[in-house]
Amino acid sequence: MAITRRELITNIAKAGVPAAVAMTVSTETLQAENLPVPNAPVGLMYDASLCIGCKACEVACNEANNTPPDTRGDGLHQSAADLNDLTRNIIKLYKSDDGSVTSFVKRQCMQCFDPACAAGCPFQALHKDHETGVVLWDGDKCIGCRYCTITCPYSVPRFQWKGFDPVVTKCELCSHRLAKGLKPGCSSVCPTGAVIFGSREMLLLEAKRRIKKNPGRYYQDRVYGETDNGGTQALYLSRVAFADLGLPELGPESVPARTLRWQKRIYQYFALPALLYVGLVQVIRKNLKGHEQEAHERAEETGLRAQL
């Protein structure tokens, strides 16, 4: 059986698909983009084992950021159920199923080295400060798409659902206070030193000192945020598993880097898009041929010029 020219080309193209896929997927893990490292990263270190759940930090946070207390729960108390447009900082309680193990956890922005919110933001409204590494929100650039609220693996940025000129609220480490030489609101009032502010380097040293001094006290003798999600500027120590406190185990690769890796594979050498294009062209050509045939038949049948 003789092979037509068309069949030959089609077969070559078909053989090319798995080859192209194999070529792209088998490539070595692509290096994440070289992210600019902040000059002097600052952060918070929260030791859940020291927290007494007094919520002084919640009140101080709202005062420092000039935000009214969120009384939408019962109208009497500042009782937010989670971070929201009026709550940048919240103390939550973990209780094991049998109630034998409990731990408080303070949740606020993790100030990631590679923030997923900033990666998801189409206009760099969320960006990392070059000096302190704090992730800041610029209202003039924000278009209100709320991608940041979805991309953040810690669900930190929150959108203001009501109001004419809504804002995205997240902890910005009291940057306005830092500029004046003050500590962030939360760390300035903590009565037990459960949350402390400082340069990330010093905080990491302190966290490791505590682990070394109290072996077995902390979960896995590990500082959450040292490498997690590519490293964060907010560090955590805890007696209970971090996952129980709502801090997911994300591995050392940051969420945007992982996404970028797959995204780059898809577009590598432009192989997959090119194949997709070829496939689409084939489909269109085939369909078009059918349509032309039909139109021709119709024209012959009716004697009228058929329109495609």
């Binding site: 019962d74 009782s79 989670d82 919240i90 408080f104």
Partner: protein, 402 residues
């Protein structure tokens, strides 16, 4: 001329022990935690010495539209010694309730007390002053109260308005206010005026202000309503002994219910503590612990606030200005958002409308297609008929030709 002794000298002459004077001074310290300059960073002995060296301040006390409750609060201390002490520390030169004189004698007493201490005495005003119809609703010795106040206040060093009536009108000024009652600061200008609202106010507030004035020579720091900050800076709610119940969400719902018996928070019974600036929660009346409305299970009436008592319903709840966190905690994971019935109904209505419109249009489109097909069919039939007719015609012609 009578020489004014110092407080220490007078106390010694009256046979008051040094111990009870020190007790009084420590009480003064305890009741003024929010910064009375007199007691700031000093030991009780230093304060005792400072007060002891001072000349006894001359106090003239005038009554207007009042119930004498403020005088009573001064006298009804649990230990008679304390009332005695207060009256020994200050030199109460004229007081209508406490003096034996009456009639012309009393008039003369006021005149001489004012003349003797002109420019030096502290004037304490109790009660509101009627202003309507040129003050005819109250007269003292044939003169309207308004005139008496103006005359005496002009010669005083400072004016203390004791009680809510003297501070801003109080009960007599409640609607419809038939006498046009007002407080001292609506009438007197050019003198330092200290308001000590309360119904009644704690007598230690008066003592603190008077002693501060005579030992330090200045009026204590006042808030925007002229109330001394040392006693009126904070709201009752902040230091309330029932605060823990508020934070835990334990409220008495009705008088005499289980929560009320257990001493839970009285907020829902109309307690005005969250908006009332006063030191009641830290400073008991009559030196008896918990002797104040909230302490005995009655909601705070807000008697120190012009806009609250006699202007708000007793059982009306008030807004919380500075909401604080409760002593409960949110769980680690909480569901975000949720749909209200209205929102669900709106979404349903929009979806239904879109679906309906689509269906109607699809029906119209289909029928228009059918019409088109029918027309096409008709055209085709016409054409066929036409061509058939032509053929017939041609045949006819052919036959004719044949």
């Amino acid at each position: 001329m009578f020489k004014h002794p110092t407080i220490a000298e007078h106390l010694e002459a009256s046979g008051v022990s040094r111990r009870s004077f020190i007790q009084l001074c420590s009480m003064l310290m305890a009741t003024a935690p929010m910064g009375l300059a007199l007691t700031k960073n000093k030991s009780v002995f230093e304060i005792t010495a400072a007060i002891g060296k001072t000349k006894r301040p001359s106090v003239i006390w005038l009554h207007f539209q009042d119930c004498t409750g403020c005088t009573e609060t001064l006298l009804r201390t649990s230990a008679p010694d304390v009332a005695h002490l207060i009256l020994d520390v200050i030199s109460l030169d004229y007081h209508e309730t406490l003096m034996a004189a009456s009639g012309a004698q009393a008039e003369a007493a006021l005149k001489s007390a004012v003349a003797e201490n002109e420019g030096k005495f502290v004037l304490v005003v109790e009660g509101a002053i009627p202003m309507k119809d040129e003050g005819v609703y109250m007269e003292l010795a044939g003169k309207p109260a308004l005139q008496v106040l103006r005359e005496v206040a002009a010669k005083s060093a400072a004016v203390i308005a004791i009680g809510s009536c003297a501070s801003w009108g109080g009960v007599p000024s409640a609607d419809p206010n038939p006498t046009g009652a007002v407080g001292v600061d609506s009438i007197i200008t050019g003198k330092p005026i200290i308001n000590l609202p309360g119904c009644p106010p704690n007598p230690y507030n008066l003592l603190g202000v008077v002693l501060e004035y005579v030992t330090m020579g200045k009026v204590p720091a006042l808030d925007e309503l002229g109330r001394p900050k040392f006693a009126y800076e904070r709201v009752i709610h902040e230091n309330c002994p029932r605060r823990a119940h508020f934070d835990a969400g334990r409220f008495a719902a009705v008088f005499g219910d289980d929560g009320h018996r257990k001493g839970w928070c009285l907020y829902k019974l109309g307690c005005k503590g969250p908006i009332t600036h006063a030191a009641c929660s830290t400073q008991s009346f009559n030196e008896v612990p918990n002797c104040w409305p909230i302490g005995i299970g009655a909601p705070c009436m807000g008697c120190t606030e012009k806009g609250v008592i006699w202007r708000m319903s007793t059982f009306e709840t008030v807004p919380i200005h500075l909401a604080t966190p409760p002593d409960t905690y949110p769980p680690i994971y909480s569901s975000i958002g949720g749909a209200t019935v209205g929102a669900a109904a709106l979404v349903g209505a929009v979806a239904g409308a879109l679906g309906g419109v689509t269906w109607v249009h699809s029906q119209r489109f289909a029928s228009s297609q059918e019409i088109g097909v029918e027309r096409l069919e008709a055209d085709r039939r016409n054409e066929e008929n036409l061509s058939a007719a032509e053929k017939d015609l041609e045949k006819g012609f052919d036959k004719k030709e044949d």
